[in-house]
């Protein structure tokens, strides 16, 4: 009998302890509790009054400071709370933002842009958004003390004096931007930038409220209170690794055209947890990964969105050990045509990404006059086992080898291992005497090996920074910073150079020059294109305006999203 009493006592104690544990949790997060209740009522009472979009993110926001962004998530949410000169409509069309697009004046030499700002644009605290805010924002981005990655990458060599300022030779005030009056913003360029409209979408070109930024000091952008919005939404809460909430910014000049009342984002790193939350109605939309794509492909809520990014196999001609092989045209042609691109997609993504034989993505840039797509397609580097074997035989003859071992560099994640496995299988199967040695190491180490050129093959992808083919083509000029395959072709270099200089103001000739450059790149088998990627999602049918990906910068344009139940 006594025995049992003790048990009850223990159980009681246990209960008490767990209650205390729970209630302290509750105290710590009393704010969270109320928010959670609000969240519940949203789902229960079918958002008649409140339209809150509930989505997930695979990571927390690394930074909300516009000039520090270097990743998708930051870029996305910075775009959602701020507005620059222009913004992207869903699908990538550039539309007026703080500047009225139809009033923008470009000088004849293409070197001076004069933007006319709307006079009703306000910051969330009620202050007007002025041309001076842009001047300050741009100077901030290029000030070397602030250490912006993209500020320098984008501005140097384009905006007047940017490179010298970043190098510390000139003061940030010397940047070629000025504000003749409150609503006129003038930009001076060093060279014409034909894609200027999409170029200024980048977060580094956002305005900044000088008084606010300076008052916040080191805390700027670390919490919702230290962010001053001027865009469609403002952030109301942001809990590390947990999620963040945004509400419609009533001070936004175009607030009447913002349909949602708010957006609630949860950080969910596990793909299965994301899907479970969607299935139980906690999320309105979810991005699928891996086998989830196949399992859900027949769902009426399934969507596949085209991305403006292509993936390709790099064939390193500057390889420390095998450069002789890698520089041989027939050798590279054989490698380029010897693997099944569809098999690669099936293994690595399992979705309907498109196998491609080109470099510049389709549905990305259009002909300035006819509106035709830049990408006309090519089958030069298409998968063709027999042709590959012919090239391989010729290469063997020219180089005089029977067997060769090449290293294939890839990451240490599951996807990266899939990539090296499928490439090894395909290439070894179709090219006799070839051995692929797979090297799976962490990203940082990969970059080290790439720097020291100790690899022959690797798969890489490119996401553009603005809407122009040169964002891709520029990579492979001789000695280019990102040309890590050692490709060099004079004709190619000349075409890129002319596109940047004398053809800059001749859109049609420039467009054709870039098309020609891509053709040369493929004819030389500088790279082996693999696919143009797609993103697969599940979305409730009441979510409107989220069915297209933007080609660059922010993936989605939440200003235009609506919930129609």
């Amino acid at each position: 009998m006594k025995n049992r009493n003790w048990l009850f006592l223990l159980l009681g104690l246990l209960l008490a302890i767990s209650l205390v544990a729970c209630s302290t949790g509750g105290d710590n997060s009393s704010q969270e509790d109320t928010e959670e209740e609000e969240g519940n009522t949203d789902t229960d009472t079918v958002t008649e009054e409140e339209k809150i979009l509930r989505i997930s993110s695979t990571s927390d926001i690394p930074t909300m400071d516009p000039i520090m962004t270097e990743d998708n998530v930051s870029t996305q949410w910075i775009d959602t709370v701020y507005e620059g000169l222009y913004r992207q409509a869903p699908g990538g069309e550039i539309v007026s933002g703080i500047a009225k697009m139809e009033e923008t004046e470009v000088s004849e030499d293409g070197l001076t842009y004069t933007f006319h700002l709307r006079d009703d644009a306000k910051w969330a605290n009620g202050d007007p958004v002025t041309a001076q805010d842009f001047v300050y924002g741009w100077q901030r981005a290029v000030n070397p003390d602030n250490g912006s990655f993209y500020g320098n990458y984008l501005m140097s060599g384009k905006i007047k004096n940017a490179a010298q300022i970043f190098a510390g030779e000139l003061a940030p005030e010397e940047l070629g931007v000025s504000a003749p009056d409150e609503h006129t913003f003038v930009v001076e360029l060093e060279v014409p930038v034909p894609y200027f409209d999409s170029y200024v979408i980048n977060a580094n070109f956002l305005p900044a409220h000088q008084e606010f930024v300076e008052a916040q000091g080191d805390n700027f952008s670390l919490s919702p209170e230290s962010i001053l919005a001027n865009g469609p939404y403002k952030m109301t809460s942001w809990k590390a690794e947990n999620g963040w909430e945004l509400v419609k910014n009533e001070e936004y000049w175009d607030a009447e055209n913002v349909a949602l009342d708010g957006i609630s984002v949860k950080v969910l790193k596990e793909a299965d947890t994301r899907l479970s939350n969607y299935e139980t109605g906690n999320l309105d939309r979810v991005t699928l990964s891996g086998s989830q794509v196949k399992d859900n492909q027949t769902s009426p809520e399934f969507q596949s969105l085209n991305e403006a990014s292509t993936f390709y196999m790099k064939m390193n001609q500057e390889s420390a050990e095998k450069s002789e092989y890698m520089q041989n045209y027939n050798f590279r042609m054989a490698l380029s045509k010897a693997f099944d691109k569809q098999a690669y997609i099936d293994v690595v993504y399992g979705n309907d990404s498109t196998p491609v034989n080109y470099f510049v993505p389709a549905e990305f840039v259009e002909h300035p006059e006819t509106g035709e797509d830049f990408q006309t397609g090519s089958d030069l580097l298409a998968f063709d086992k027999e042709a590959a074997q012919e090239y391989w035989a010729k290469a063997k003859e020219e180089l005089g080898f029977e067997e060769v071992t090449l290293s294939f560099l890839s990451g240490d994640t599951d996807v990266a291992k899939d990539i090296s496995e499928i490439m090894k299988t395909e290439l070894e199967k179709n090219l006799e005497g070839l051995t692929i040695e797979t090297v799976n190491v962490p990203w940082a180490q990969q970059l080290d090996l790439m720097r020291t050129k100790e690899y022959e093959l690797a798969v890489s992808g490119w996401v553009p920074d603005y809407k122009d083919a040169i964002s891709f083509i520029d990579i492979f000029v001789t000695g280019g910073e990102n040309n890590d395959v050692g490709y060099s072709n004079e004709e190619y270099d000349a075409l890129v150079k002319s596109a940047k200089n004398e053809l800059a103001l001749d859109p049609v000739a420039r467009f054709e020059a870039l098309q020609e450059a891509e053709k040369i790149l493929l004819e030389d088998a500088a790279i082996a294109p693999i696919l143009q990627r797609k993103t697969s999602v599940l979305a409730k049918n009441y979510v409107k305006g989220l069915d297209q990906l933007n080609p660059f910068s922010n993936n989605y344009s939440f200003k235009y999203v609506d919930i129609e139940k």
């Binding site: 302890i17 767990s18 952008s221 299935e279 139980t280 990203w443 940082a444």
Partner: protein
């Protein structure tokens, strides 16, 4: 006792110093830099500028000294990955959910495990014993993320009894706690049963019975106290591993804990965060070991902390 404590504290500081030094220099050997996750869009000059900004261009001994003096002031630097965020704030923000989840799982798991083990020992070789044994073996051999997946699928997705994930109210903590408590529960049950059987067969229990001491008094005054010692030994390290976050459970249930942060900071070469987390874990570990040693003495006077020999 006071002398012992002071001695232990000095040892603790020495241990921490060694850990900090070793981690610091090991990290300098790690390949790559925190600034090369940018897909190649950063130039050499920019890299140099950034290294200067974060003091990475100083000679390593200078960096080391600066870091040590920072720690003394409670300053762990700022994160590279999460622009400008002080590491101290990041750790404090993240340790809360991990510690809460870990503590809940540990307390419930340990208490249930002890009860289960005791009952099994008392009802030795009956179906109760066998059942509890099977439960314990399952709990030890099946990893917690399998339970997590099953719990999430059935209790949350299928039957909608609990939230699928997130960390917002006590009800949200139920599923991760259950998933996490099964292992400590199983371990405790196993140890408790074995020890209890041994103790119950010992001479002094026989003597107590012969003297006519009541059954309950034997169990709780004599047997339980002695049987607890090995259990406490395993509970020490387990406390640390549970409270410092369990990556997989945290990811499955979207708990904003510290386990996940540790892994991601390593992947991105975020030195200050790796260092801060390592030091935090180390401090927790040495403190828990100290507590365990002190607890021994409380539970079993035979283990004398002043004796010096036993540690």
């Amino acid at each position: 006792m006071a002398k012992y404590l002071i001695q232990r504290l000095i040892y603790m500081i020495i241990t921490l110093f060694i850990i900090i030094t070793a981690t610091f220099f090991l990290m300098k050997i790690m390949p790559g830099s925190p600034f090369n996750n940018l897909g190649g869009k950063i130039t050499e000059e920019q890299q140099a500028l950034l290294e200067e900004k974060y003091g990475l261009d100083d000679p390593v001994p200078v960096q080391y000294f600066k870091y040590l003096t920072g720690i003394v002031r409670g300053d762990f630097g700022v994160s590279f990955q999460y622009e400008n965020r002080p590491v101290t704030d990041m750790l404090l923000e993240r340790i809360g959910p991990s510690a809460e989840l870990g503590a809940q799982a540990l307390i419930i798991g340990a208490v249930l495990g002890i009860i289960l083990g005791m009952i099994a020992a008392i009802k030795h070789n009956t179906w109760i014993d066998y059942t509890s044994n099977i439960v314990a073996v399952i709990g030890i051999s099946i990893p917690s993320f399998v339970f997590a997946g099953l719990l999430q699928y059935y209790l949350a997705v299928k039957w909608r009894l609990f939230p699928v994930s997130f960390w917002e109210s006590p009800i949200h903590t139920v599923l991760p706690t259950i998933a996490l408590m099964i292992f400590p529960m199983a371990i405790c049950a196993r140890f408790m049963r074995t020890e209890m059987l041994e103790v119950l067969g010992s001479d002094y229990i026989e003597l107590a019975r012969a003297k006519g001491v009541s059954n309950g008094s034997i169990m709780f005054k004599h047997a339980l106290r002695n049987a607890l010692i090995p259990v406490i030994t395993v509970l020490g390290p387990m406390t640390v591993s549970l409270m410092t976050g369990t990556l997989v459970i945290e990811q499955i249930f979207a708990v904003p804990g510290i386990g996940e942060q540790f892994v991601s900071s390593i992947n991105t070469n975020d030195y200050p965060v790796i260092m801060g987390t390592t030091i935090l874990f180390a401090v927790l570990f040495v403190v828990v070991i100290l507590i365990v040693d002190l607890l021994y003495g409380l539970i079993d006077p035979r283990i004398r902390i002043t004796g010096g020999g036993k540690d």
